[in-house]
Amino acid sequence: EGEVKLLTSIKPLQLIAAAVQDGVGKPAVLLPPGASGHHYSLRPSDIRSVREAQLFYWIGQDMETFLIDVVHDRQGPSISIQTLPDLQLRYFGQEHGVGHHDTEHDQDHRPGSLDAHLWLQPSNALLIAKRMAADLTIADPVNTERYQANSVAFEQRLEMLDKRLRKRLAGLSDKSYFVFHEAYDYFEATYGLKHAGVFNISGEVQPGARHIAELRERLQKAGPSCVFSEPPLRPRLVETLSANLPVTMAEIDPMGTGIEPHAQGYEELLERLTEQLSGCLEKL
């Protein structure tokens, strides 16, 4: 009764919202897990849910271009996360370890443009949660206290989570690993990790021969290392390049695929990510 209909564009935002709305309502999500904004064709129910949602959260027009027109027609407030004040945003090519300048980016996320994977930094998640709590309070003043309490609880849990993660990841910073998709800069910056290289996976622009030669060299130099792919994509490039090298393949998931939305969902996302990372890196 009187539950605020809150809709987010992607799963991680839904998980954050679930923490804030805990006990009062269930936030919904627009895109199915793994759907890429590129190939997503809208269904009437999608439009309807965007229209009918009282609150709508999306990353923003840099990331979800296909939503621009739909959001435009909404009556209620739509919050573009990338425009929130105080959020720590990263841009591709903004800062780097020395050296490998040109080879560092995968092609979906070109230098100079916004790195949209901002939810992988807990402080950003907290800011988003606070904004959600504030919006919900306005929309649903009756449950003001509940939202505030949830928000505070989320903050406290995040602090503990942060400690757990730091502990878990401590000592792994010198391990070498490669990722397919430059999605982890926020997470890495927070926890002192650095990937040794990026494979290019999907996307129309493939890497050039020079890039691949360098990658191969780096793989050889790196010694034992982990290569993380995102299910179900498993580009053949990595198998070709890592042939006869002491490379361990593992999977990693920045989107929280398969996590049921509940109060601790967001933490589960980060913990799983950490488990996946450390699980492989520890064995090196």
């Binding site: 190939h39 809208l42 269904r43 739909v70 591709f92 996320h109 129309e204 493939q206």
Partner: protein, 269 residues
């Protein structure tokens, strides 16, 4: 009916109407892949637009027009069929676009965003554009109908009979190119090319004159739009693909149905 569905319906119907006659020419002139070629070349347009600091939409539209002109020029040689030429242009421009982009390290291009619109996201402003544009294109088609037919039936005969063949052909190409370029951005390339060719092909078997085929294609296209949007509404499927599936079903029916009596038989080559 919610307004977004109404917008989608009206936009779809307007496009279907103009796609009937235009698509008939596409089928007759073997340019089924013109739309795909334009969409492939859009990437090059975007890349060059970024390089020259022009708005991408403008660059893409200009690119489409240039491509149409290039195609007309290549067709003059007559050694290669239109589909081969379209295939070459499509893949060359796409590749050139990809190579160009690989030199421009500090821009991010959302390739698909430029190509795939969505019928359900059509705004009222878009709708006004589509309806106005369709009316304009239809008027042009009606005015140019006879010369267009004449050059399509036999170009040399038309030339001897004093028609400015090159001009008319270019006009047709540009008309098709502009319709595709604009519709591509609003409703997506998949839907517009399908609306061009599938209803026209379905109408072919039962038409006895070019006009019947053009009008039949318009009607079939409109039916497909209605059927597809119903499917989308009741089964919650994506709108554009549902319309295409609807049109494909009509095509299948038309291919399996016995032909109307005394309609033109297949030519025996």
């Amino acid at each position: 009916m919610p307004d977004f569905l109404l917008n989608a319906l009206l936009a779809g119907l307007a496009l279907a109407v103009v796609a009937g006659p235009l698509g008939s020419f596409v089928v007759w002139r073997r340019m089924a892949y013109f739309g795909d070629t334009l969409s492939h070349s859009a990437l090059l347009g975007v890349a060059l637009g970024l390089l020259l600091g022009v708005s991408p939409t403008l660059a893409v539209t200009v690119g489409c027009v240039l491509l149409a002109v290039l195609l007309v020029a290549l067709q003059q040689q007559r050694l290669l069929a239109s589909d081969t030429l379209l295939g070459i242009l499509a893949h060359s421009t796409l590749s050139l676009g990809l190579v160009t982009l690989s030199f421009m390290r500090d821009v991010r291009v959302d390739l698909m965003g430029y190509l795939f619109g969505d019928l359900l996201a059509v705004s009222s402003e878009d709708l006004a554009w589509i309806i106005g544009g369709s009316a304009l294109v239809l008027t042009l088609l009606v005015v140019l109908w006879r010369p267009l037919l004449a050059i399509t039936v036999h170009e040399e005969l038309a030339r001897v009979e004093g028609l400015p063949v090159a001009t008319i052909r270019l006009a047709l190409m540009l008309l098709i190119a502009v319709v595709i370029a604009v519709a591509m951005k609003i409703v997506g390339v998949l839907l517009i090319t399908s609306l061009l060719i599938i209803p026209a092909a379905a109408a072919r078997r039962h038409a006895r004159s070019p006009e019947q085929m053009a009008i039949g294609a318009s009607l079939l296209g409109m039916l497909a739009v209605c059927a597809g949007l119903s499917l989308s509404w009741y089964q919650d499927t994506p709108a554009g693909p549902s319309i295409v599936v609807g049109a494909a079903v009509f095509f299948l029916c038309s291919a399996l149905l016995p032909r109307f009596r005394s309609s033109p038989a297949s030519a025996t080559r």
